[in-house]
C-alpha cells in the first residue's frame, strides 16, 4: 500500500500551482461572470498545455490515460485557484460520455464540455461558453447545439457560474461509460477541498495581519481554535477524496455489468463519502474564513466571496450532502445483507 501522492503527482501539483498563482485567476473569474471570457479561456489553454483536460482521456485518443487520482490533483488546484468554467465536466465527466473524435478535441483543450444530468445536475454549467453541451439521462447521452441563448441563463449564488437548462431533444451520441456521475462527484469533491484549503489559507494570512486590541487576531485562542477545526475537517476530507479516486480506478475500465456488487457499492459509498466530507469541510472553511475576515470579507471587492459563493453552489451540485449520506448508508447496509 502506498496511500500518498507520487513524486510525479507532487510535481504536477506544483506545476499547476505555479501556473495558476501567476495568472490572476480571481480576475479571470470576475471577468467570466460578466461573460468576458478571454482571460478564462487563456487559463484553459494553459491548463491544456499541462495536460489537464486529457488526463482521463485514453492514450489512443490523444490523452494521458492517467488515473482518477491525477484528476483529483488537477481539480483540487482548480478549486484552490477558482478557475472559472466547467472544469469538472470537461476533465472527469466528458471522458465517460464522449467518443473518440470529441475526446481528442477535449484532450487538446479545444472542446470545453458541459453536461446536465437531471436530477442531480439539473442545469449545464456555462453552456453558453462551452463547445460541447450534453445531457445524460440514465445511460443515454444526447448533444444539443452549443449556440445556447444567453438570455436563458439562470442566476447562481456564484456569479461566475452560468447555469442553463438543457432540452431533452438533443442528438443521441451514444451510451455513457459506467460511473459517469460518480466521476463527477469525485471531481467536485476535489474542487471543494481545493476551495476549502484556499479559504483556510486566506483566513490564516488575514489573522496574522489584522490587529485588534494591540495584537494580531490570530493570537487569540478563539480564532486559533476556529482555524484548527477547519484544518482537521480539511485534512480528514482529503483522504476520502483520494480513497474514492483509488476505488474508481479499480472499475474505470470495466463494463458496468461486470463490476461485482461489492465493488459497485464501494464506488457509490466512497464517492458519496468524499462529497459529504468535502462539502462539510468547504462550508466550515467558508463560514470560518468569513468570520475571521469580518466585514471586509463580506464585500464584493474582497476575493473571499469568489470561493464562499462557489462552495455553497457546489454543495448542492452533483447531489447534496444529505443525498450522499443516504447513498453511503444504503451501500454500507447492502454490504451487511450480502
Amino acid at each position: 500500500m502506498r496511500f500518498a501522492l507520487s513524486p510525479e503527482q507532487r510535481d504536477f501539483a506544483a506545476a499547476l500551482d505555479e501556473l495558476l498563482a501567476g495568472s490572476d485567476t480571481p480576475g479571470a473569474a470576475r471577468e467570466w461572470a460578466e461573460r468576458r471570457c478571454e482571460p478564462g479561456r487563456k487559463l484553459w489553454r494553459e491548463l491544456a498545455d499541462l495536460g489537464v483536460w486529457g488526463l482521463l482521456v485514453p492514450e489512443e485518443h490523444g490523452g494521458a490515460g492517467a488515473e482518477p487520482a491525477d484528476a483529483v490533483v488537477a481539480l483540487e488546484a482548480c478549486g484552490y485557484h477558482a478557475v472559472p468554467g466547467p472544469v469538472v465536466e470537461t476533465a472527469v465527466v466528458a471522458p465517460r460520455l464522449l467518443g473518440g473524435d470529441e475526446l481528442a478535441a477535449v484532450a487538446a483543450g479545444e472542446a470545453m464540455t458541459t453536461v446536465a444530468i437531471p436530477p442531480e445536475v439539473p442545469r449545464a454549467l456555462d453552456a453558453d461558453v462551452a463547445d460541447i453541451v450534453l445531457r445524460l439521462d440514465e445511460e443515454t447521452v444526447t448533444r444539443v447545439p452549443s449556440d445556447v441563448d444567453p438570455d436563458g441563463r439562470v442566476p447562481s449564488i456564484d456569479a461566475v457560474r452560468g447555469l442553463f437548462p438543457v432540452p431533452g431533444h438533443g442528438v443521441p451520441v451514444g451510451a455513457a461509460r459506467p460511473h459517469a456521475v460518480e466521476f463527477g462527484v469525485l471531481g467536485v469533491s476535489a474542487q471543494l477541498v481545493g476551495a476549502a484549503r484556499r479559504m483556510l489559507g486566506m483566513a490564516t494570512e488575514y489573522a496574522m495581519q489584522r490587529r485588534q486590541y494591540g495584537r494580531p487576531v490570530g493570537q487569540y485562542q478563539a480564532v486559533k481554535h476556529l482555524l484548527a477545526d477547519v484544518t482537521v475537517r480539511l485534512e480528514t476530507a482529503r483522504p476520502l477524496v483520494d480513497g474514492a479516486a483509488v476505488t474508481l480506478a479499480s472499475v474505470a475500465d470495466v463494463p458496468g455489468a461486470d463490476v461485482p456488487g461489492a465493488q459497485a457499492r464501494a464506488v457509490v459509498r466512497d464517492t458519496s463519502a468524499a462529497k459529504v466530507a468535502a462539502t462539510r469541510a468547504a462550508i466550515l472553511a467558508a463560514r470560518t474564513s468569513l468570520q475571521v475576515h469580518g466585514a471586509i470579507g463580506y464585500t464584493a471587492e474582497h476575493d473571499l466571496g469568489l470561493w464562499l459563493t462557489k462552495v455553497r453552489a457546489l454543495a448542492g451540485a452533483w447531489g447534496t450532502a444529505d443525498e450522499h449520506r443516504a447513498r453511503v448508508l444504503r451501500a454500507v447496509r447492502g454490504g451487511h445483507d450480502g
Binding site: 500500500m1 485562542q221 486559533k224 482537521v232 476520502l240 483509488v246
Partner: protein
C-alpha cells in the same frame, strides 16, 4: 496511489483473523478496572503472547513480528472487529516500550520487555500531577540522588491502570533548581516498593480505572532510569508522540464501532431522525482510517510525525464520542440501559482530555501547522 494489501500482510491479517475467531473469549471479559477483570485481562495478554500476537510491532527477538505500520493497522482492525478484549498492557506496550527501544539499554529491554509482552508485569503511566495536567512541564514530584539510585517523593494522579498495575513510569524533577522541561528524569518504579501508596479513583462508570500515587522517599535504582538523568523531557517526547500519534489510537476500534452503529441503526428500522448523524459518524471514521493509511505511508517513507499528530488526536477523539453519542440516540429511551454502547460512551468521553486536551491540540495546530503567533505565556 493505492490501497492494496501486499501478500505477506494479507497472510498475516488472515492468520490474525483465524486465531481471533477461535480464541476471543465469550462472553466478554469483565471490566479490566475490577480486580477480577484485571486478572482475566492479564491472562488474555499471555494467550496473545503464546500466539506471538501480543506485541506484533516489536522485533522478533522480543517475541514480536516486526510488523510494519500497515500490518499493525490491519492487526488492530481484525482485533476490534472480532470484539477482542481491551489491552490491559497497552500503557507499557505502546508508550514505555517505544521509549525503551529508542532510549533504553539492552539490559533494560531484556529485563523488562518479556514480562511486559506476557502481561506478567502490567505498567501504569504516571504523568499527570495535581498541578500539572496538559501543562506537564509544571510537574513537581522530585527525585533526589542517593547511593546507587534515586529517592522519589511527590504525587501523581489520574494514573491509568495504576489501581492494579505492577509498575509505573513517568517524569520526575531531579534538579530542584530547574524549571519547566529542564532537569527532569525519566524513571520506572515498582508500585509495590516501600513508600508507595496507591489510592484507586473510581471513574464515571464507578470502577477504579485510574489512581492517585503517593511517593515518600521511594528508592529507584539507577538501572531504572531511562536515558540520562536530567534528559527526561526529550526521552518522554518519544512516548508522547506515540500516545498522541498513531500508536494508541489505531482506527480499528472505531471502524468496528462504526460498523456496529450502522447495523444497530438498521436493526432499529433505519430511523430517519438519526440517519444524518449515523452517516456522518461512519464517514468520519472511514476518513480517519484513510488519514491513518496516509500517515503510515509517510512514516514508512522515513518522514517523522510532526505537529500534525494533533490533527490525528482531534480526529479520533471526536470520532469516538460522535459514534457513541449517535448510538445512544439511535437507542432512544433504551440508550440509558447498561450496554457495551454505554461503556463505550463513558470511555470515549476521556479521549478529548488525556494525552493533551483537545484545546491544547488546537493550539498546536494553530501555532505549529498554520503558523499563527504564539500566545504570550508566563
Amino acid at each position: 496511489m493505492d490501497l492494496d494489501i501486499d501478500a505477506e500482510s494479507a497472510a498475516f491479517r488472515d492468520e490474525v483473523r483465524a486465531w481471533l475467531a477461535d480464541n476471543v473469549p465469550r462472553p466478554a471479559l469483565p471490566s479490566m478496572d475490577t480486580a477480577e477483570g484485571f486478572a482475566a485481562h492479564r491472562e488474555w495478554e499471555a494467550r496473545l503472547a503464546d500466539a506471538r500476537l501480543s506485541v506484533v510491532t516489536w522485533p522478533a527477538e522480543y517475541t514480536g513480528r516486526d510488523a510494519s505500520l500497515l500490518q499493525w493497522l490491519l492487526f488492530e482492525e481484525e482485533y476490534y472487529a472480532a470484539g477482542a478484549p481491551g489491552r490491559v498492557g497497552q500503557n507499557g506496550i505502546f508508550m514505555l516500550a517505544p521509549t525503551l527501544f529508542a532510549h533504553g539499554t539492552a539490559q533494560q529491554r531484556d529485563r523488562i520487555l518479556p514480562a511486559m509482552a506476557r502481561g506478567e508485569q502490567v505498567w501504569a503511566q504516571a504523568w499527570s500531577e495535581p498541578e500539572a495536567g496538559s501543562d506537564i512541564a509544571a510537574l513537581r514530584s522530585r527525585a533526589v540522588r542517593t547511593d546507587g539510585g534515586w529517592l522519589v517523593s511527590g504525587q501523581k494522579t489520574w494514573s491509568s491502570r495504576a489501581a492494579f498495575a505492577d509498575r509505573a513510569f513517568g517524569l520526575f524533577r531531579s534538579d530542584p533548581d530547574s524549571e519547566r522541561h529542564r532537569g527532569l528524569t525519566y524513571l520506572m518504579l515498582d508500585l509495590r516498593a516501600d513508600g508507595v501508596t496507591v489510592r484507586p479513583i473510581p471513574q464515571l462508570d464507578g470502577e477504579p480505572g485510574f489512581a492517585e500515587l503517593l511517593f515518600d522517599e521511594v528508592f529507584v535504582p539507577d538501572e531504572d532510569v531511562i536515558g540520562n538523568p536530567g534528559d527526561g523531557w526529550r526521552v518522554a517526547m518519544t512516548t508522547a508522540n506515540n500516545e498522541r500519534g498513531l500508536s494508541l489510537r489505531s482506527p480499528g476500534r472505531f471502524l468496528a464501532s462504526a460498523d456496529r452503529l450502522v447495523r444497530l441503526w438498521g436493526e432499529r428500522g433505519e430511523p430517519a431522525a438519526t440517519a444524518e448523524r449515523v452517516a456522518d459518524a461512519w464517514i468520519d471514521t472511514r476518513a480517519y482510517q484513510l488519514y491513518t493509511y496516509g500517515t503510515a505511508t509517510r512514516l514508512a517513507e522515513g518522514e517523522r510525525l510532526g505537529p500534525e499528530s494533533s490533527v490525528n488526536k482531534l480526529a479520533w477523539s471526536g470520532v469516538d464520542v460522535e459514534l457513541h453519542e449517535t448510538a445512544l440516540d439511535v437507542l432512544g429511551a433504551d440508550g440509558e440501559v447498561a450496554s457495551p454502547w454505554v461503556d463505550g460512551y463513558l470511555f470515549s468521553l476521556a479521549g478529548p482530555i488525556y494525552g493533551g486536551t483537545d484545546q491544547i491540540q488546537r493550539n498546536t495546530i494553530a501555532e505549529r501547522v498554520l503558523g499563527l503567533p504564539r500566545e504570550e505565556r508566563r
